[in-house]
């Protein structure tokens, strides 16, 4: 084993050193971190496609013309495996090996918190998601959250429910037992109580559950008017919707916590009738329509609701570079808060979050209340969070 152990170790070192790709002149590395393994792989794929579409748009117009130079952005995405270590490794590789100055993603809380521990001291700008309030804070000056969390949109949507369904009183909230669900549940409890609802039933189910009939049977004993699917992932929300109707629940079913009407409709089929949810993505918005067509042309399959969010993040980043007329991180970072009113596919851009997080790095946007009427998604209202 003697001589060969050294041989193998040397080989591994050589392979590692050779593998970083030679950098093209005037190349602009856009880093991305997403979950590309296990159950949440569609998040990573949505990130990859969203950012790539924004890059395609820019390159179609001959690249980014900034400070007298033309940059052709190119995407490097790594898999965070939805774990802290995965997020930290991906962030370190982007920062140290690929020398990326701008990163989009991750979506899950664990990889985001771990990646921040690397990007913040390295002064790398990160446009991320993740529902944990710890992600934004006065010390985290180098990251912005580019998707609204229930903290922002729950009060607005509960208010809408109160106005349109005044007779409803008793509410049931069902959440997955993971980092998302555990953050969202207390927010919804506070929101519902503030508007005079009586939260009669709450349940945290294990993330891999597919059959909710026993859980819904338990709920049915509480005479519930409104069932809130809260932050259930697309498949689970669709199943809860279908099985609630199958168990004989006649009341209102709403989801305040995760935009995914298209996928729920695909899973629940005819039983999705009257299901109320929301989306940031309003197809009537001209920019949104252009994006929707570009996605359909290039990828065709059903679009994850995270895809427009990540596309939007890349567009905001490129706009900030244009306005700063530089690709220096601090210049771009300074430009972002001043972009209020910039037309995005989710409507005019707004930042907020000072009171709750101590820093205005939380993206706000209008939300579109949607309802399923005989198999089609109908837009009922547009509600604003700010």
């Amino acid at each position: 084993m003697n001589k060969v152990a050294k041989l193998l170790a040397a080989l591994a070192t050589a392979a590692l050193c050779l593998s970083p790709m030679p950098l093209l002149a005037k190349d602009l590395t856009i880093g991305a971190i997403g979950t590309l393994s296990g159950g949440a792989t569609d998040w990573g794929v949505a990130t990859q496609r969203g950012v790539q579409l924004a890059i395609d748009e820019v390159n179609a117009q001959g690249g980014l013309k900034i400070g007298g130079e033309t940059y052709t952005p190119h995407l490097i995405i790594y898999d965070d495996q939805y774990t802290g270590q995965g997020g930290a490794t991906a962030a370190t590789r982007l920062v140290n090996a690929d020398h990326a100055k701008f990163i989009i993603g991750p979506i899950g809380t664990p990889p985001t918190l771990a990646a921040l521990a690397i990007t913040t001291p390295a002064k790398v700008l990160m446009l991320d998601d993740g529902f944990s309030p710890k992600i934004l804070g006065p010390k985290n000056t180098y990251n912005f959250r580019i998707s609204a969390t229930p903290q922002e949109f729950a009060p607005a949507m509960i208010g809408w429910l109160k106005k349109n369904y005044p007779k409803t009183k008793r509410v049931a909230i069902v959440d997955p037992n993971d980092s998302v669900g555990q953050q969202v549940m207390p927010i919804l409890l506070k929101g519902y109580k503030a508007d005079g609802f009586d939260v009669a039933f709450t349940e945290m189910y294990d993330r891999s559950t597919k059959d909710f009939t026993p859980l819904l049977t338990r709920m049915m004993a509480n005479k519930i008017d409104v069932l809130d699917l809260s932050s259930s992932a697309p498949a689970e929300a669709g199943l809860l919707l279908k099985q609630a109707r199958q168990v004989g629940f006649k009341g209102v079913i709403i989801q305040i916590g995760g935009p995914s009407v298209e996928e729920n409709l695909a899973v629940a089929g005819p039983l999705a009738e009257d299901f109320i949810s929301f989306d940031f993505f309003n197809p009537d918005n001209p920019l949104a329509k252009k994006f929707g067509d570009a996605y359909a042309k290039k990828y065709g399959s059903t679009m994850s609701s995270w895809c427009p969010v990540m596309y939007n993040a890349a567009k905001i980043l490129f706009e900030a570079m244009h306005r700063a007329n530089s690709i220096d991180v601090d210049a771009v970072k300074a430009e972002l808060p001043k972009m209020t009113g910039y037309e995005t596919i989710f409507g005019p851009l707004h930042w907020g979050g000072k009171e709750t997080y101590g820093i205005d790095h939380q993206l706000l946007a209008d939300i579109v209340i949607e309802q399923v009427k005989d198999g089609k998604i109908v837009r009922r209202d547009v509600v604003s969070m700010y």
Binding site: P214, L215, R218, L239, G248, P270
Partner: protein
């Protein structure tokens, strides 16, 4: 909470859950019983069954009651490739067999993710009526699942009990040397057993894809449930898989309805660990022969 209708509903829910678990566990315990391999790819074959049903229904427009068995047999035939190139050389070598099937499941899952895409979808409901027997609610698609599971279990039982290949497989499960000494061509029977087990998994996968949702990663939960069912029933025991499946279904249904979801999950793990320690061979299994 303990009124009669709720109890009845709990039993119905339990039986519905149990039906799926039995279909998944049958193939799994059969492969372990006969070939001493913990088949981690069993969930992946279920996933392929779901997609086979999806494409047979949607693209080939084959009626449901024909598409389901056809899809299952297609996946079974496909599984023979895996048996030929991966498992054939690893029988009775538990560790290598387990890790190889883990690798196989990764290849199948992530190839499916590349080919079919990762978004969740559902096999369109063929039966969406809902029957109300007084307070009791029984959706039609659950009844269909129950019926299919019962028929499959009966056919499987008859095959193993009254046909020559069935008998040969049971002998091979007891003692390979004795089986071969009596002229049983073990290799052929292993192939047949693997075909049946994968077809059963694909059948369950089709039903899961229709009842719940379809994605390349749907195989993980059914595989985990098969583990639990087979431990309860006894590794390698066919009646054990049947009873174990029903037991788990009823336990999950009653625990979740009366105590809530997270306690149910912790309790089911706790029960299984207890069974493993107190009675490793489960209800019907035979004690592990000393090495």
């Amino acid at each position: 909470m303990l009124s009669l209708p709720v109890l009845a509903q709990v039993v119905v829910n339990g039986v519905n859950l149990g039906a799926i678990y039995i279909l998944m566990a049958l193939g799994f315990t059969m492969i372990f019983g006969i070939m001493r391999i913990v088949n981690f790819a069993h969930g992946a074959f279920a996933m392929l069954g779901g997609f086979a049903l999806y494409f047979l229904l949607m693209d080939a427009h084959v009626p449901f009651l024909l598409a389901l068995p056809l899809g299952a047999l297609l996946v079974g035939a496909g599984s023979l490739l895996a048996e030929r190139f991966v498992l054939r050389h690893l029988y009775h070598n538990e560790l290598q067999g387990m890790i190889a099937t883990l690798g196989l499941s990764m290849v199948m899952i992530y190839l499916a993710a590349i080919v079919f895409g990762v978004s969740q979808r559902s096999v369109p409901a063929v039966y969406s009526e809902i029957f109300f027997f007084g307070p009791l609610v029984v959706p039609m698609d659950r009844l269909v699942v129950l019926g299919i599971a019962a028929v499959t279990l009966l056919l499987f039982f008859l095959f193993m009990r009254y046909t020559k290949p069935g008998l040969a497989m049971r002998v091979a499960a007891q003692d390979l040397e004795v089986a071969e000494a009596q002229g049983i061509n073990a290799a052929a029977h292993y192939q047949a057993a693997f075909f049946i087990a994968s077809s059963l998994a694909a059948l369950a996968g089709g039903l899961i894809g229709q009842l719940y949702a379809l994605s390349p990663f749907m195989g993980a939960t059914p595989l985990m449930k098969s583990f639990i069912v087979v431990i309860l029933g006894g590794l390698g025991s066919i009646p054990g898989a049947a009873l174990g499946g029903l037991l788990l279904g009823m336990a999950e249904s009653s625990l979740t309805t009366f105590f809530g979801a997270s306690t149910a999950q912790l309790a089911s793990f706790g029960i299984v660990m207890l069974v493993l320690v107190l009675r490793p061979q489960g209800l019907f299994g035979h004690a592990e022969r000393d090495s």
